[in-house]
């Protein structure tokens, strides 16, 4: 059995909110980031945290990530995001969800086999546009 249900790699505003929510829901979640102070600041809210540059398979294995762990890539940095995605593929991880910062990033992620891609700014923009259109139609 996998040690963690979900691993969140990259704990910015997106990743940390996601990880905390999962933790509170009782999901076994691992949070990873390169920024030691950021990780330290989350220590009270999330049980399993690690400070690591998780670009290679060896590090990912040491972190306890197995093919059954659902991995979420929370970083906007395209280079890091794609490198980790490649390593996760080599490790055989089945479910990899990713956050994307641009449409090119989205394209690259989907080429490399990310199973679910979210581009939060775009999706938030579209959602807000939807709200506005509704309001226009009523008014």
């Amino acid at each position: 059995m996998a040690r963690y249900d979900v691993a969140v790699l990259g704990l910015g505003r997106f990743g940390s909110a996601l990880a905390m929510e999962l933790e509170q829901a009782g999901v076994r979640v691992l949070g990873v980031d390169t920024d030691e102070r950021l990780v330290q600041s989350l220590a009270d809210d999330i049980r399993h945290l690690a400070i690591a540059e998780a670009h290679d398979v060896e590090t990912l294995e040491q972190l306890g990530i197995t093919p059954d762990t659902l991995c979420v890539l929370g970083m906007t940095d395209i280079e890091a995001s794609l490198l980790i995605l490649t390593s996760l593929n080599s490790l055989g991880v089945k479910e990899i969800w990713a956050k994307s910062g641009s449409s090119q990033h989205t394209k690259a992620l989907s080429r490399l086999g990310a199973t679910r891609i979210m581009q939060p700014e775009r999706e938030a923009g579209l959602t807000m546009a939807g709200e506005l259109i509704d309001r226009q139609a009523k008014g």
Binding site: V39, A43, L49, A50, I51, A52, A54, T59, Q62, L63
Partner: protein
């Protein structure tokens, strides 16, 4: 394949480095087994005696682990052949532990610092073998030189001063010199060297052999190169030498103060003899284990002082046992740095790596645990008082060999506990130190900090 790997020494070195803990432990276990079998032979004991398995095992372990605790009197129980076996085991044990530890220090040091990285693997192995042979030759030379000189000094004294026949004097000189240099503490009399307690010409050569054997090969090697240039000494040398000197002096002072008027020990000697016996007892507590006064008649506070000296033991990669002076001193430096609120631990203008400090803590606390467990076991197995039992356990664990007289009274269970203490006390700190130093699989991540309350 390079040339070195095909020689027996080369293969032994490869084996040692591949798994230090296992090869050292099995090597010693093999020699103890061989010694036990040889001591069981009918020609190993004097006529009219008989040797059961536990006695043979106990004696072989005590000799190989250079301890000196005995359940039967060495001179009256064992034949010339048996004593020869014991001497051979002491020599093998002393040389074995000194060379294994020295090689681990040398070769692990090279591997960990990556000093060989510019060489190809075959080249660096050849260099390692070359250096290992160099170290082994050095140890063999020191052993022969010191044992030879001390044996001759003792022989002359026994022959000229005590009217012993030439043959007996030579044998006494050889036996005691070998026993002293290897920090074994086996003697040829039930009362060790008590008859010669006041004779400086016996005491001083023995003390010199114990000190030189016990300070460790790395320090001897350094002293040879920079004897009078203290500025060039490594931190390990500085720490080992100064702390050893401090412990010798402090131990002798404490011994003299506690026992000065005890009529059964120092009180029976002349003032000069009291000083001599105090110094001797302080030196051999770390960890040779002769005695020139009766240990069983010492005050409890003296026993506790000796417990502490025995537990600290001698220098690393020497024939002495115990925790080792360097380990003990490291913990002292840690305490000093902590009390002063300093972020890192310094000694003699150098920063001590935190990995070393953690190794010292591990070895020290596991040793305390080992002695405590052994003491508890012996308390169950015997009717003796805590002070005698604790002394016995520390003496066995630090491979000292002094006893308040409890050893011959031990039953089979008690003897097995002491055998275990001697074996793991002799080999535990070395193999553990090497194994810990080798376990350097780098961790590719770190986890957040959280404090646990201390104190």
């Amino acid at each position: 394949m390079d040339r070195g790997a095909r020689t027996p020494a080369g293969r032994a070195i490869d084996l040692l480095l591949a798994n230090p803990a296992r090869s050292v432990l099995t090597g010693f276990a093999a020699f103890i087994t061989l010694g036990t079998l040889l001591l069981r032979l009918p020609i190993a004991h004097e006529e009219g005696q008989s040797t059961d398995l536990i006695t043979a095992l106990f004696t072989a372990t005590s000799a190989t682990c250079v301890t000196g605790l005995v359940t039967v009197d060495t001179a009256t129980h064992w034949s010339a052949f048996g004593e020869g076996v014991i001497l051979a085991l002491i020599q093998v044990g002393g040389f074995g532990v000194m060379s294994a530890a020295s090689l681990l220090v040398l070769l692990l040091g090279r591997r960990l610092t990556g000093a060989t990285s510019i060489l190809s693997q075959a080249e660096s192995r050849a260099v390692e073998h070359e250096e290992a042979r160099f170290v082994l030759r050095g140890i063999a030379r020191v052993t022969l030189l010191v044992q030879g000189v001390v044996a001759i000094a003792l022989f002359l004294r026994f022959w000229l001063g005590y009217d012993m026949p030439v043959g007996q004097a030579a044998y006494h000189g050889f036996f005691h010199s070998l026993s002293a240099f290897n920090n074994a503490g086996f003697g040829l009399r039930a009362d060790s060297i008590t008859p010669w307690a006041q004779d400086p010409l016996i005491n001083l050569p023995l003390m010199a052999a114990v000190m030189i054997g016990g300070i460790g090969f790395p320090v001897l090697w350094g002293l040879r190169r920079h004897l009078f240039r203290v500025g060039r000494w490594s931190v390990h040398m500085l720490v080992t030498v100064w702390v050893s000197v401090f412990l010798w002096v402090a131990g002798a002072l404490a011994f003299a103060v506690f026992e000065w008027t005890n009529p059964k020990t120092l009180g029976a000697l002349s003032p000069g003899g009291r000083v001599m016996a105090s110094a001797f007892q302080s030196v051999v507590a770390r960890t040779a284990g002769f005695n020139s006064v009766s240990i069983g008649d010492l005050h409890p506070e003296t026993l506790l002082t000796l417990d502490a000296l025995m537990f600290v033991g001698g220098g690393s990669a020497g024939t002495a046992g115990g925790l080792k002076v360097g380990t003990f001193a490291l913990l002292g430096f840690v305490i000093w740095a902590e009390l002063r609120g300093e972020p890192t631990v310094h000694a003699f203008h150098r920063r001590l790596p935190s990995a070393t400090i953690r190794q010292a803590l591990t070895v020290a606390l596991l040793s305390v645990g080992g002695v405590a467990t052994g003491t508890a076991g012996l308390l169950i197995a015997t009717d003796a008082e805590l002070d005698a039992v604790l002394f016995e356990a520390v003496s066995a664990f630090a491979t000292v060999g002094m006893s308040t007289g409890l050893t011959p009274e031990l039953g089979v269970g008690g003897q097995l506990i002491v055998i275990g203490l001697m074996f793991f006390g002799r080999l535990g700190p070395i193999t553990l130190g090497a194994a810990l130093a080798l376990r350097n699989r780098p961790r590719r991540y770190e986890v957040p900090e959280e404090r646990v309350l201390v104190g």
